[in-house]
Amino acid sequence: MVSAGQMVNRLTPVLRRLKFLPLVGFVALAGCASNAPQDTWAPEGPNAQMIDDLQKPIFAVAGIVGLIVFGAIAFAMYKFRDRGQPIPEQTHGKPVLEITLTIIPALILTVIGVFTVRTVFDLAKTSDTEMVINVTGQQWWWEYDYPVQEELGITKPIITSGQLVFPVGTKVMLRQTSRDVIHSYWIPKLNGKRDAVPGRVHLNRLEADQPGIYAGQCTEFCGLSHANMRMEAVALSKEDFAKWVDQQLADYQAPAEGTLAKEGETVFLNQCVRCHQVNGLKRADGTPAIAAPDENVVSGAAPNLSKLMTRNTFAGAMFDLVTPECRADVWDASRETFGEKYLAGVSEECLNQTDLRSWLRNAPEMKPMYANPALLTSTGGKYRGMPYLALSENDIEKLVAYLLTLK
């Protein structure tokens, strides 16, 4: 008979050895997450599909090789464990074995290499492009501009940020670059990643099979808020995309005289226009208000806010512009209703007042941005990101009313 005390004594070393088990468990569980918008194993477009078709077999091969190697190691460790036996006779080299063990991996890698190179070239194809979007990264948000393309109804250039909107089933060429440091654009469900490098244009391809929002984030460390530099690619059906284009090209609607929003417009002209462009906005003297981010921001750009309320995230897609309920309504919408819900934009009821107000109150507190002018000697007094503007609550009230009209 073994007493309970002896039992515990015997088990303790075993349990101690297993202390890493929970960690392994967590990692395994993480693999089962159902809400995984950046899952590299769930392609939703032809380019990601090509990558997936390559990576799954390779993963299988690597897995089998890994199992064999680990099995062999485990076997050797067990079979030849130290039991006090004398050290066996030492020999040097076994040419036949060594050559075999070189040739087999070489063959496996050759096969993998052939398929990989082919996929790389297929992915780099650009000759059948159907649409072009310029993608520009800067600390710490993405800007998208759509060159004039009459065939797609884009008769004037469109500019937006945070959410890249594009039609499904269309081969979109992204012309990527950066205004400051190297960033990297990656929507895992749609394609692999590609760096955005200052002074160079790198081409990337985006194509989605179904309408929906596809998430990603900057994948090249780019400074303080790198982790907060996200992006969302919004695929709309071709009809919905045409509506979106019309929405973006619509003329500026000045708020009616005497409203809170009109007062907000004045505050905006005083406080915000030096960085943010709102197309069609005019100063009191009737001249167009043209922003000068090149004089105020290190990267030379700040988001164009003309159609702010047609996107539902802001500040590098870090915050939602809509409340959680309204967000779920759009994100979880069926394929058929998604487009309509997205195009509805942000209504007053849906607006995420809390985050937007906090942003206007003190942006650097919401998102680390080196925006303190006292620390800006190296940037010649230009801001990196949006600074603290010391606005009164009254002004914030007016500004929110004004921003809500920017649709």
Binding site: P95, V96, I99, A124, T126, S127, T129, V132, N134, T136, E143, D145, Y146, P147, V148, Q149, K156, P157, I158, I159, M173, R175, T177, R179, G199, R200, V201, H202, L203, Q277, N279, G280, P288, I290, A291, A292, P293, D294, S299, G300, A301, N304
Partner: protein, 371 residues
Amino acid sequence: MFTTSSKFYVALTVLAAVSFGVYMILIGPSSIGATALFGMIAVGILFIWLSLHTRDADTDDEFASGAAADAPSRSMWPLVGAAGALLTLIGTLTTPLFFILGLIVVVATFVEWGIQAWADRASSDPAYNAAVRAKILHPIEFPVIAAIGLGVIIISFAEIMLAVERSAGAVLFIIVSSWVLAAGVVVAIKPNMRRGIITVIVVVGSLAIVAGGLLGNASGMREELVKAAEEDHFMHRECGPEKDKYTDKLALESVSSRSAVVATVEFIDGKLVAREQGVPGERETITIPRSNPSSIIFRNKTEGEFRLLAVTGKTMVSEGVYEVDEHCTQLIPAGAEQLLTLTMAKPTLEGGEFYLEVPGVEGQRVELVVP
């Protein structure tokens, strides 16, 4: 009194002095000739003094080592040196290649012969002398001989590849490289193999390749290469109108597109034709991304000299006085091209103010827009 070598230098100096006189009187003073001949006189005098002073560097007989008295070892170098000299001479008459080859041979002769002679006098033990020579010359000889040997093999192999058909070439390459690999594997597996066998393998293999090369050279290049060579240069197909299988790949990913080219604007027979990367067809409007340095390639394909001008709005210089913002390329002749790089920080709000044109040409405008 006069030592052997000093006599030589006396003769040389006298000759130089006479030449100097003749030159100055008959040909007329030129600073280069005078300096050269006068320098020769000066050097001659210096050497006369040196050889007299050191008595030709000859040791007194009683101190000379026994080895020095021996006859020098047999040497092929005088012969080789003479051949080299002949080659340089032929080279001056025919092609510079021979001259250079001859020069190399002559220099090699000097190095080899000089060191050989020096080593022969190192001691009275020939084995030791040979070792001394080897120690100095092998680090030079081995790499040089290896390079020459490899060069011969490579050129021979190239000759073979140029002679045989394209597909046969690929097969041949695979066969030869497999044999090389196989030989390497054999040597690796059996490091203790007799040296003789390895030597035989290497020599036979090399000879086979060299023989193949000679044969290939004799039978001439394969037809398609001959034809290509006749048509001026091998690259011509890359620049023809049709797509080249090898060089026209991924045109949009080439250096020019990477360096931020947004558009190509051509001035063809008096017409401005604009194209934008990724957008099919001719464009009437080009979109320049905001605050990104963006390049426009301008090609002039019209007789005469033209430039591309970009007008990007106007700036107020003083109250109510505006100046048009202009950026342009240089004036370029037909066939030339230039790059115009624009960085536009401000958006174009109402169209028509920003445009590209060729000064002096009416009615040809390409609109520029900045989002």
